[in-house]
């Protein structure tokens, strides 16, 4: 029997497979058994009601899709009174995701969302369609440090900091978050993109720019996970473009302790369960007693000398 559990700081997950914020809700219980998941991850909530951005909110692009939903939310009160109890019908730990435009509001949100029903706070400082003054703190080291520090001082809950791949030096941001007291890093949110409709000459989605998600971003985010895992001691949760078992393994080899899955839920909603089953089988077949042993298991040697490598058999 493979031990499928993983520890993210003080939180133990029954398996490393979680849905990604904004791509998951209890509505998924229409098609899959939510109790199988490593954790439940709620849609990002902010203090006040937000309508979100004008449709169309998504468009297919080459490597997947771009979206600009605009973080619609019924606000924190509705979240705590209605949505949290709804999540508590299911057994996996509940990760609440919060967003705010100021450090003060982030602090207050962290305090208010830290109820007993919430197991982990995910701090979404990386929604790509917002500027640093509008909630996208994850583009700057100091902003990241300051907001995470304040949240750390406010709550005893484990805090996971969701990073932005749009930052030039994601490792520096990762270190800031660690230094500020984050318990884990989620690497990462979407990459800012643009698609223009060549018939209408207009942006393909209502809010012009959109965040790119899906398989196309995987090679970029796997690289970031690897780089962050080398630089920090706290666990990394890989997120970006996972659509199959092999992708999860790749993220774990790169250094992720667990993963989050967004786009696949749209593409193959049953896939997330298939991946959990597949991962267990794969570990058994490859002789891994604990799935956690995959984390960082990439063989990381110096590149071979060019002439030797170019004389060696292929594959």
């Amino acid at each position: 029997m493979v031990d499928m559990s993983v520890k993210i700081g003080s939180v133990t997950l029954q398996n490393p497979i979680m849905p990604a914020s904004g791509c998951f809700s209890t509505d998924l219980a229409q098609v899959i058994d939510l109790n199988r998941l490593g954790a439940l991850v709620a849609k990002t909530v902010s203090r006040e009601f937000r309508a979100g951005n004008p449709p169309p909110r998504v468009s297919e692009v080459e490597g997947g899709m771009i979206n600009s939903i605009g973080l619609p939310t019924k606000g924190i009160e509705y979240f705590l009174s209605h949505q949290v109890p709804d999540y508590k019908r299911f057994s996996p730990p509940l990760v609440g995701s919060i967003s705010a435009t100021t450090i003060e509001d982030f602090e207050a949100m962290a305090r208010d969302v830290s109820t007993s029903a919430i197991d982990v706070l995910e701090v979404n400082i990386s929604c790509p369609t917002r500027d640093p003054k509008g909630g996208n703190f994850a583009l700057h080291e100091e902003h990241t440090f300051n907001v995470m520090r304040r949240i750390r001082q406010t709550t005893d809950k484990p805090i996971w900091c969701k990073l932005s791949p749009n930052a030039g030096d994601v490792v520096a941001i990762a270190k800031s978050a660690e230094l500020a007291g984050a318990d884990a890093l989620v690497v990462s949110n979407t990459i800012l993109g643009l698609k223009i409709d060549i018939n209408t000459f207009r942006p393909a989605i209502g809010n012009k720019f959109g965040g790119l998600s899906g398989p196309g971003i995987k090679p970029i985010i796997v690289r970031m996970v690897y780089q962050c895992a080398k630089a920090v001691k706290i666990p990394i949760i890989g997120c970006g473009g996972i659509v199959k078992l092999e992708d999860v393994i790749e993220y774990m080899l790169a250094g992720a302790s667990a993963v989050m899955i967004g786009y696949l839920i749209f593409r193959n909603p049953s896939g997330i369960i298939a991946i959990i089953d597949g991962l267990q089988e794969w570990c058994a077949k490859r002789g891994f007693a604990r799935v956690a042993d995959l984390t960082g298991a990439m063989i990381d040697e110096a590149p071979r000398e060019t002439y030797a490598a170019a004389a060696a058999p292929i594959g």
């Binding site: 904004g22 791509c23 696949l264 049953s270 991946i275």
Partner: protein, 288 residues
């Protein structure tokens, strides 16, 4: 083969395979064999699939989110919603009628009998009917005719009369007239002979109201016709429903991609077509 681009099974239900998802889960991702797939005119195809038991529980107005094959060498990333056109419980089949408009539907059109179609569903809220009603009016256009079509089944089961006003560019594009013909009257209104003009349709509706043949209104497929039915419904106190469309991603509720504007007591709000609908109260809909 070593490489699997997408996670498959175990909850994908194949032909003859048992449903592995717990039974309290109402919808599923299932692989349904194509039985037949024919062009019914120059733009629309009629698709019949063998349905899994959960899929077969679909109700009129509900939809499936279909994983269309790619029509070309590039991937198709999102599913495409299609409402059920006919539910053939006897033969355990589900039928779709769809218009080929872009990559998704062109890809869907490549499926041949024997191929498997990956469907997620049944999804959403279907049409409601009140068994006390005697006669209802259905008014649709374009792809809306496909969505409205199973109302004929619903009305038939309840023994309620139907007048179906089917709007189309020309006679070629009048669809679902056979289904409605079995349970009621069909009035085709066409652009080609100008009978589809709003004033003309309004006159028909007013006549039906006068004849007390309009206990409820149903519409889909045209903003113009939605506004007409809304106005007459309001004026005459006739309840109604509209089936909405919107671009979707998940089709299940979480992503908030498929929002449409509704208005209740002068207050606007956004609702998700995939889970709050696709069928909504006629008076609350703002635009199609």
């Amino acid at each position: 083969m070593a490489h699997r681009p997408f996670a498959s099974a175990p909850y994908v239900v194949g032909k003859g395979a048992p449903a592995l998802a717990p039974t309290h889960i109402p919808a599923e991702e299932s692989l349904c064999p194509v039985v037949s797939h024919d062009w019914i005119n120059s733009e629309y195809k009629h698709l019949v699939v063998d349905a899994s038991p959960k899929a077969l529980a679909v109700k009129p107005g509900q939809f499936f989110n279909l994983l269309c094959p790619s029509p070309d060498a590039a991937e198709l990333w999102l599913r495409r919603p299609q409402s059920v056109y006919r539910i053939d419980r006897e033969n355990r089949r589900i039928e779709f009628l769809y218009k080929c408009v872009g990559r998704g539907t062109f890809g869907l059109a490549t499926l041949e009998p024997g191929d498997e179609l990956n469907m997620v569903g049944p999804l959403g809220v279907g049409f409601a009917i009140d068994r006390r009603w005697k006669h209802i009016v259905v008014l649709g256009r374009g792809v809306g005719l496909a969505t409205l079509a199973p109302i004929s089944q619903l009305a038939g089961e309840c023994g309620i009369g139907v007048t179906a006003i089917l709007s189309a560019r020309s006679a070629e594009f009048v669809m679902a007239d056979d289904l409605f013909g079995k349970v009621g009257d069909v009035i085709a209104v066409l652009d080609s002979d100008a009978t589809s003009a709003v004033e003309h349709v309004e006159a028909i509706l007013k006549r039906l109201i006068a004849q007390r043949q309009a206990d409820a209104f149903y519409t889909c497929g045209s903003n113009r016709l939605l506004q007409l039915m809304k106005r007459l419904g309001k004026a005459h106190g006739i309840p109604g429903q509209v089936a909405m469309e919107q671009v979707m991603a998940c089709g299940l509720g979480p992503c908030y991609v498929c929002v449409r504007t509704f208005e209740v007591d002068g207050k606007k709000e956004l609702r998700r077509v995939c889970i709050d609908g696709p069928v909504f109260d006629l008076q609350e809909a703002v635009g199609w």
